[in-house]
């Protein structure tokens, strides 16, 4: 009898001790995550909802927020500058497929047995870690019509280069070239990691089956790096829709005839130069919506094509 009693109390104690342990664990778990959660709520979530509400008001940042319904959105739809900046923003995204293609080719090249592989990797990655502000300043000078590096090089080939940043037709391509140059090292590195993670046996088996180089690429490499392509497209679109720094530094007035002004640059102007906070909030809501729709669409399409592969 005594023995069993003791056992029971022991078990009880154990349960108690366990639940006490569990409580301690919960407390610790909450204590460790509470700071980032509060940070997220205070610095992201609340401002986001204020922004949403502000887009329906005539807020100027100082005075009252007066509710004006859809007035901001209505004038936004008639605002030709908004449409122009939206067009420019999408135009600049042409650099995304170009950059991905170049970086994929570079990664394929670097996955072979090449002399100086490590050095190449480092060199291609240097622009990635460099500050965008300094790089924009450098390229602004490089695009100088008379003495810039770009036109000097073109001159060697007998081409008379334009005054890149002052020309309506060349200012956007100029920004695209710079963005590709700066970003190609990052995508290359991710592709390289993906290519190297493809098991060699896949290729050997394909070769035995008589697959040529293109078929090996089409049916092995490309499907294997698809998740990386997907990741890069999504992050590049999210980043590309927020282009600001290079535009603000290289073309402080938005370029000739506003031809390099982006949505975020325009939003900035409206909010912090004209103090039209309500209107700028409406722009930011539309921008956020566009980003959300494109990303959701990407995820949807990615899922569908994955099914097809199976």
């Amino acid at each position: 009898m005594e023995v069993t009693d003791k056992k029971i109390t022991d078990v009880n104690k154990n349960i108690k001790r366990k639940s006490q342990l569990y409580k301690d664990e919960q407390k610790a778990a909450i204590a460790f995550i509470i700071i980032p959660v509060i940070g997220f709520i205070v610095f992201s979530m609340i401002p986001f909802f204020i922004s949403l509400y502000a887009s329906f008001t005539d807020w100027n940042g100082i005075g009252q927020m007066n509710f004006i319904g859809l007035a901001n959105y209505k004038s936004l739809f008639k605002d030709e500058y908004f449409w122009k900046t939206l067009y420019n923003t999408f135009y600049l995204m042409l650099g995304i497929p170009i950059g991905l293609m170049i970086s994929f080719l570079l990664a394929s090249a670097l996955s072979r047995r090449i002399v100086g592989k490590t050095i190449f990797r480092v060199i291609y990655y240097i622009p990635v870690v460099s500050s965008l502000a300094a790089i924009s300043i450098l390229w602004q000078w490089a695009y100088n019509g008379d003495f810039g590096l770009v036109n000097q090089v073109l001159d060697i080939f007998g081409i008379q280069g334009p005054n890149w940043l002052q020309n309506v037709n060349t200012v956007k391509p100029a920004i695209i070239i710079m963005a590709v140059w700066k970003g190609v090292g990052y995508s290359m590195l991710l592709y390289l990691a993906a290519i190297q993670s493809v098991p060699r046996t896949f290729y050997e088996a394909a070769e035995l089956d008589g697959a040529n180089a293109f078929q090996r690429f089409r049916f092995i490499t490309w499907p294997m790096v698809k998740p990386i392509t997907f990741f890069l497209i999504v992050t590049n679109i999210i980043g590309g829709s927020q282009v600001f720094t290079e535009v603000n530094i290289m073309t402080p007035t938005g370029g000739p005839q506003y031809s390099s002004a982006t949505v975020v640059w325009y939003l900035w102007r409206q909010a912090f130069n004209n103090w039209k906070m309500g209107y700028a909030s409406a722009i930011s809501v539309v921008l956020g919506l566009i980003i959300f729709i494109i990303t959701a669409l990407q995820f949807y399409m990615n899922r569908r094509s994955n099914y097809k592969l199976d």
């Binding site: 610790a28 980032p36 959660v37 072979r112 870690v129 460099s130 140059w181 980003i291």
Partner: protein, 278 residues
């Protein structure tokens, strides 16, 4: 692969070499310009090795007060944000990865959705809130939010922690170790390389930040280095003082490039790893 022939590898090597020249030439040209005099930049064809080789631009640059205040402010912001933020982020990653808590995954998902909110969508209310409490033209709006942690870092450390077996934590728990102790004694040493790589990446990001500092800092002595060099660019370009502008850009790039060259192996590995895992 067996098929790799010497000829094709040699051709590829030269293509990569040309690519590498394209990548590095603008940066070398920036350095070269910074050692010229004002009229030397207009010589045709351009000189890659300036003759005469002058440090005049750097001398004039070092006399500018805003350069030194810019460096000082950038150091204050980057270090305080990344050191404190790394501690909060890695504790949170430990909790999300290893501790039991109801709705833990839901909270984590909420944070992840949070990084999808673009900064331009929240910067206007953030600016007004910070200006109401008198933080505009101080470094606080750049430092304080970052100290609450970095969701990207939490995400990657959480991934990395999934390789650490639960059993060592269970063992420590039974030995009666506190959770903070478990973190400092077991978790931190186990994921130190990942923390270091993430810390470096974040530091470089904080050093290079331009948008938020531009938004919050108005007076020259308060600005961070990136804003200072952008302003120098705007004001000195009119005088076509390109050597000074390029010298300022070189100075702003040196810290990050030095860090990159020293830790290039870890940085590249960590970025590549994040791709395969993430």
């Amino acid at each position: 692969m067996k098929r790799e022939s010497k000829v094709s590898n040699t051709i590829i090597f030269f293509v990569l070499l040309i690519g590498a020249i394209v990548m590095i030439a603008p940066l070398l040209w920036m350095v070269s310009t910074s050692f010229k005099d004002k009229s030397g930049v207009f010589s045709l064809p351009p000189e890659w090795i300036p003759a005469p080789f002058l440090t005049d631009a750097y001398e004039r640059l070092f006399e500018l007060d805003q350069l030194w205040s810019g460096i000082k402010n950038s150091i204050i912001v980057s270090f305080s944000v990344t050191i404190v933020g790394t501690i909060t982020s890695s504790l949170a990653a430990f909790s999300f990865a290893k501790l039991r808590l109801p709705f833990k995954n839901l909270i984590f998902l909420m944070l992840l959705i949070g990084i999808m909110i673009p900064y331009p969508s929240i910067m206007i209310p953030q600016f007004v809130i910070f200006s109401k409490i008198g933080w505009v033209n101080t470094l606080f709006p750049l430092i304080i939010p970052g100290m609450f942690g970095n969701i990207t870092m939490i995400f990657f450390l959480k991934q990395y922690l999934s390789n650490v077996p639960d059993s060592i934590i269970e063992a420590a728990k039974i030995d009666g170790a506190g959770y903070f102790q478990i973190f400092t004694k077991l978790i931190f040493p186990a994921i130190k390389p990942a923390i270091a790589a993430q810390f470096i990446l974040w530091f470089m990001g904080a050093w290079n930040d331009y948008l938020a500092p531009l938004l919050y800092l108005n007076s020259p002595e308060k600005q961070t280095l990136q804003v200072v060099i952008a302003n120098l660019n705007a004001s000195y370009a009119i005088q076509t003082d390109y050597p000074l502008i390029m010298a300022a850009s070189v100075i702003s790039l040196i810290p990050v490039l030095t860090i990159f060259i020293i830790f290039q192996k870890q940085i590249i590995e960590s970025v590549a790893l994040s791709a395969v895992k993430g």
